[in-house]
Amino acid sequence: MCGKHVGRIAQVGWGHDEPSIGTLRLHLRPELHDKPCVVLEGEPPTETVCALNTRARLLGLRRGMTKVEVETFENVMVLQRSLRIEASVRTVLLECAGAFSPRIEDRSVDGLFVCMADVAGTEGLFGPPLMLAKQMRQRVRSVSIVASVTIGSNAPTTVRLARGLGGGIPLRVVPRGEEAKALGPLPVTVLDVTEAQAETFLTWGIRSVAAVAALPEKSLIARLGQDAKRLLQLAHGKHPYLMQPIDVPFVLEEQAELDSPLDDLESLLFGLSTMLEQLTVRARSRVLALASVTITLRLDGGGSHERTVNPRVPTNEKKLWLKLLQLELANHPPNASILGVHLYAEPGVTSKVQLGLFSPQLPEPGRLDVTLAKITAIVGDGNVGMAVLDDTRRIGDFHVEPFSITTAEPPSPTTTPLFGLRLLRPAERTRVEIRHGQPREIYFRSRCYVAETVYGPWLKGGDWWNESIWGNEQWDVVGRTIDNALLVCRLSHDFILKDWRVAGLYD
C-alpha cells in the first residue's frame, strides 16, 4: 500500500550494525563519542555487552562479552543500560521524524531504532529525495545521534536497507522499480526466513536475495509452501505493506543518570547544558520556545528535589536558562548528592509583546529575568513581583505575583476623597484610654491627645473558621494636646490581640 499509493517511504535508522542502545545511551554524552564505549545489561555478575560503538568494535569488543572480558581492554567506557533514557530518546527521535511528516511509524526491532515516515508529496517543502534524506540525517545529528536514512517506494525494502543490512550507507535513495536490485546483494536472512527455510536455501546454495528472486515462483511454492510467495515478493521489493501511523506526543523532556553521586552544582551545569540544548533544538523545530523548565534531581537516599524556573517570556537562549537554573539551585540547593537529572519544559510561543512605536526601549527580557532571579536569591521567594490585593475584608492583605507586562491602564477610583488619609505602614502602636466605650486619650509619638470628636467604631472581622481569625474596630478621632496641637487620625483596635494602633493620619 505504501509503495503504491504513497510513493515514497523514508526510513531513519543506524549505520550497519552500530548498536542503537549505545547510541541512545550516548545521546547526552557527546564527550564520549570519541571513546570506545560499551553498554552492559543484565544483573551482576552476569552482565554482558548489549551494545557498543564503532571504536569499541575496532578494539575487538563484541556483543555478548561478559564484564570480565570487557575489563581486559584498556580505556573502555562502560555504561549501564537505562530503559528510561532509551524511552525518552526514542520519543525525541520520533519527534525528529515527525518534523518531516505527520505519518510516522515506529518499526524498532531488537534494540535497533527504526522509524518509518511517509514523505509522499513533501518535495515542494524539502526538495528532491536526496536533499530530504540529508536534512533528516542532519536533524537527527542535531540531537547527537548518528542515523542512516533510506528513501524508497516499498516499505519492507526500505526498512531492510535502512537497518544497515546493506553495508551501512548513511544516505540512500532507491528509485521506484530498483528495489530488487538494491536488495539483491543482501544475504537471504534479511527476508526473515525461518531456520528450516534458511537451511534449505543453504543446501540449495542460495545465499543472496538476488538468488532467491531468480527462483521460479511455482516451483518454489511447491517446495516451500505458500510462504515462498512472501519471500519472493520481499526479494523482488514488491511486498505490500499497510502503514499504521502513530501519534507522537510532544513532550519536552530529558533525562540523564550520573555515573557517580554529584555534589558540585557547577559540574551539574555542564550536563544541564547539553540537556537544555536538546530541549531548545526540539522546541525551535516547532517554532516554539521554552516557557518554563522544571528540574528534578534524584538524590542519594531515595529523595528528590524539584525546582521550576519561569522567565517572563518564553525563550530558547541556553545561556539564560543555565543562569536561571544555576541561580535557582544556588538559592534552593539539594540536601543530598545528585544521582540523576530530569528536565521537563513547557513550550510557549515565541511571539514578542508589541509595545508602542515611541515607547522607551525596555531592557532585554532575559537580563530582567536574571536580575529578578538574583534579587529573589537575596530577598527570598514570594518577595519579588507586584503586590496584588487579596479578595478579603481584611485591610492590607495582599500577595505578590510575578511581574507581567500589561498595556492596559489600571482602573482608578471615580470618587475623589475630601480628605487625604496617610496610612501608616506598619501602623504605629499606641496607648488609648477608654471612657464610656470610646477612646478618650491617645498617647501618640510621646504626646497625649484628648479626643474631642470620635466617630465609629467601624467593625470588621473574618476567618472565624481557622487560626487566623481576625477582628478589629476602627475609630476616627480628632484630638488635641494641652498646647493645642491637633491630631486627626484613624485608630485601629485589634480585639483579638488587644492591641491599639494608629493606622493612619488625616491630612
Binding site: V388, L389, D390, D391, T392, R393, P410, P411, S412, P413, G456, P457, W458, L459, K460, G461, G462, D463, W464, W465, N466, E467, I469, G471, E473
Partner: protein, 523 residues
C-alpha cells in the same frame, strides 16, 4: 416588654442561603429581647411566613408580613468597586415591601406570582416597574439596605441618583407609603449612604425608618450566614473573600441598643412603632373563605349538605338493620353537621362529595383516606369507606373547633388517564382560576443537609462524614443537647478553633434542615 422599637426588616433562612436563622428562631429571639412585633421579609416569597406567624403568635408577637421583591429598572445590587478583587455577580435590586392591609397582601402575592410565572431560570425573575404600579395598593415600601435600590443608586451615581430613585418610589407607592430606611452595621460606606439618605428624606419630607436588616437571630449566627453565602456562590469558605459578611452586626437587637444606635436620627426608631401600628394585616386575617358550591334555588349549602348526608345515612346504615347503630349514626351526623355549619365548611364537603360522585359515575376508583375516615359525614357522603360510628372512631381527630384548623380530606385516585380525567373535571367545573395543583418542595434532612453544609469547608469533609454518621445514630430528641456538649468543650487553641468550626457546621446543618428549597439544583 417594650414597644420602643419594632424590627421591620428581617430575613429568615427562607431567603434561601442568605438568611442564617429559621423563622421560629427569629420569633423566639424577638420574644427574648422583648420586641413586640417583627416583620419578616424573605426574598421573593412568603415561604417562611406561616411558620413565623405560628411561633410569633404563640409568643405573643405580632408577625408582620412582607417580602423583598427583585425589581428591574432600579439598577443592580451593590457590589464592591471594580478595582477590588471580588466574586459578586450582578443581581437586580430588591424592594422591601410590607403588607399594610389584606389588599396589600393579595397584591404582593399577585405581584410575586406574576414575575415568577415569567421567569425562565430559577431565582432569576424580577418584577417590572409596571407590575409595581399595578399592585402597589395596600403596600408600604422601604428603600432597603445594601440590597435596595437607594444604596445602589447612591453608590453608582451619587446623591442625585438616589433622590431620583426615591422620588420614583413615591410616585409608585404614594407619599405616605415610602419610608427611607437606615441601617447601621458599623460599616463606613454604609454610614456615608445613611447620611445621604437622611438628606434625601428631609428634602422629600419622607419619614425615616431604622431597621437592622436582620439576617440572623444572634450575632453568633453570622457564621451560619457566611456558610450559606459560600454554598450559594459555589465556593469554599476560605475562597469566598468579599462574598462573606464584613462583621456580625445583622442580628436582632433590643430596643435600647437600637435607640442608642440611632439617637442622632430623630424619629427613625419611633417611626418603627408608628408603622407597625399601621400594618393591620396578619396571616390570621387572611379572610379566606372556602369556595361555594352551587345549590338549587331555595336551598342553602348547609341544608343541601344535610339532605345529601341524610340520604347517605339511610343508604349506608339502612341495610345493616341495626336500629341502635342507626340512631347513633344520626346523632353523630347531626353533631358533625352542626360543627360544619358553625365553621362554614359545608361548601368544602359538598365540593369533595361532588368530585367523588363524578368519579364514581365515570368509573374512576376513588377513596378518601386519613383522618377523614373519622367523620360520619364523610362516610355518609361515600367519601370514605369506614364506618366511624360502628368502629367508634373519634371525630375530633378529623375536625375540632378548639384546634382552629381547617379540614383536610385526602382522596386517592388511580394514576395516568383516570387521574387526569378527574383533574380536568375539577378544572372545568370550578374554573382555571378556581383550581390549582400544589406540589411539595423537598426539604433538607439529616444527611443531605450535612453534605451540603460540608462542601464549603472542603478541608474538613471528613468531619462532615462523621456528621452523617451521627445523623443516623442520634435521630432522637436529645440530638441538640448532645452536640452542644460535644462541640463546646474547648481544649488547646487549636481545638478551640476546631470546636468552633464544628459548632458552626452543626448550626448550619441544623438551620438548613427543613428549609424548603432545592439546594441540589443550585449545585
Amino acid at each position: 416588654m417594650t414597644d420602643r422599637y419594632i424590627e421591620l426588616h428581617a430575613n429568615s433562612a427562607f431567603s434561601f442561603l442568605e438568611g442564617g436563622s429559621q423563622p421560629e428562631k427569629l420569633a423566639e429571639r424577638a420574644f427574648e429581647l422583648g420586641i413586640p412585633a417583627l416583620a419578616m421579609m424573605d426574598r421573593n416569597g412568603f415561604y417562611g411566613s406561616a411558620r413565623f406567624h405560628k411561633t410569633a403568635s404563640e409568643n405573643g408577637i405580632k408577625a408582620h408580613v412582607g417580602a423583598e421583591v427583585s425589581v428591574t429598572g432600579l439598577g443592580s445590587r451593590l457590589t464592591p468597586p471594580v478595582w477590588l478583587p471580588h466574586q459578586h455577580l450582578s443581581e437586580p435590586t430588591r424592594l422591601a415591601l410590607l403588607c399594610e392591609t389584606r389588599e396589600g397582601y393579595q397584591n404582593l402575592c399577585q405581584l410575586i406570582t406574576r414575575f415568577k410565572l415569567r421567569e425562565t431560570t430559577k431565582q432569576e425573575g424580577a418584577a417590572k416597574p409596571t407590575d409595581l404600579e399595578e399592585y402597589s395598593r395596600g403596600l408600604v415600601c422601604l428603600t432597603g439596605g445594601e440590597e435596595g435600590p437607594l444604596a445602589a443608586a447612591l453608590m453608582k451615581d451619587g446623591e442625585a441618583a438616589g433622590r431620583a430613585v426615591v422620588e420614583r418610589l413615591v410616585r409608585t407607592f404614594g407619599q405616605g407609603n415610602v419610608y427611607v430606611e437606615v441601617q447601621r452595621h458599623r460599616e463606613r460606606t454604609q454610614e456615608w449612604r445613611n447620611q445621604a439618605a437622611i438628606r434625601i428624606a428631609e428634602s422629600l419630607r419622607l419619614p425615616m425608618l431604622a431597621t437592622n436588616g436582620v439576617r440572623y437571630a444572634t450575632r453568633y449566627d453570622r457564621e451560619v450566614a457566611d456558610l450559606f453565602s459560600a454554598i450559594r456562590n459555589h465556593t469554599r469558605l476560605d475562597k469566598a473573600g468579599r462574598l462573606l459578611a464584613l462583621n456580625n452586626q445583622r442580628h436582632l437587637r433590643a430596643a435600647d441598643k437600637m435607640v442608642a444606635l440611632f439617637r442622632n436620627v430623630p424619629g427613625a426608631v419611633e417611626n418603627t412603632v408608628e408603622l407597625s401600628s399601621r400594618l393591620s394585616f396578619q396571616l390570621s386575617d387572611l379572610g379566606y373563605e372556602f369556595p361555594r358550591y352551587p345549590v338549587p334555588e331555595g336551598e342553602t349549602m348547609d341544608s343541601f349538605l344535610a339532605k345529601r348526608v341524610a340520604e347517605g345515612v339511610a343508604r349506608r346504615y339502612g341495610p345493616k338493620r341495626d336500629a341502635g347503630l342507626l340512631e347513633r349514626a344520626k346523632k353523630q351526623v347531626a353533631r358533625e353537621l352542626k360543627l360544619i355549619e358553625k365553621l362554614g365548611f359545608a361548601g368544602y364537603f359538598l365540593i369533595v362529595w361532588d368530585i367523588v360522585e363524578y368519579c364514581k359515575k365515570s368509573g374512576i376508583l376513588i377513596q378518601g383516606r386519613g383522618s377523614a375516615a373519622n367523620s360520619a359525614v364523610c362516610y355518609a357522603l361515600e367519601i370514605t369507606a369506614i364506618d366511624p360510628v360502628g368502629m367508634e372512631l373519634l371525630f375530633e381527630r378529623f375536625l375540632s373547633e378548639s384546634r382552629g384548623e381547617w379540614p383536610d380530606i385526602d382522596l386517592d385516585l388511580p394514576s395516568e388517564e383516570k387521574r387526569e380525567q378527574a383533574i380536568q373535571y375539577v378544572y372545568q367545573r370550578y374554573g382555571q382560576l378556581g383550581a390549582a395543583m400544589t406540589a411539595n418542595v423537598i426539604t433538607y434532612r439529616g444527611k443531605s443537609a450535612a453534605r451540603e453544609v460540608g462542601k464549603p469547608w472542603a478541608s474538613i469533609l471528613s468531619r462532615c462524614n462523621a456528621y452523617r454518621g451521627w445523623s443516623r445514630t442520634t435521630s432522637g430528641r436529645g440530638q441538640t443537647i448532645r452536640w452542644r456538649g460535644r462541640f463546646r468543650t474547648p481544649g488547646s487553641m487549636c481545638s478551640i478553633h476546631v470546636s468552633r468550626n464544628t459548632w458552626s457546621c452543626a448550626c448550619g446543618y441544623r438551620t438548613s434542615r427543613g428549609i424548603s428549597a432545592s439546594i441540589r439544583a443550585a449545585w
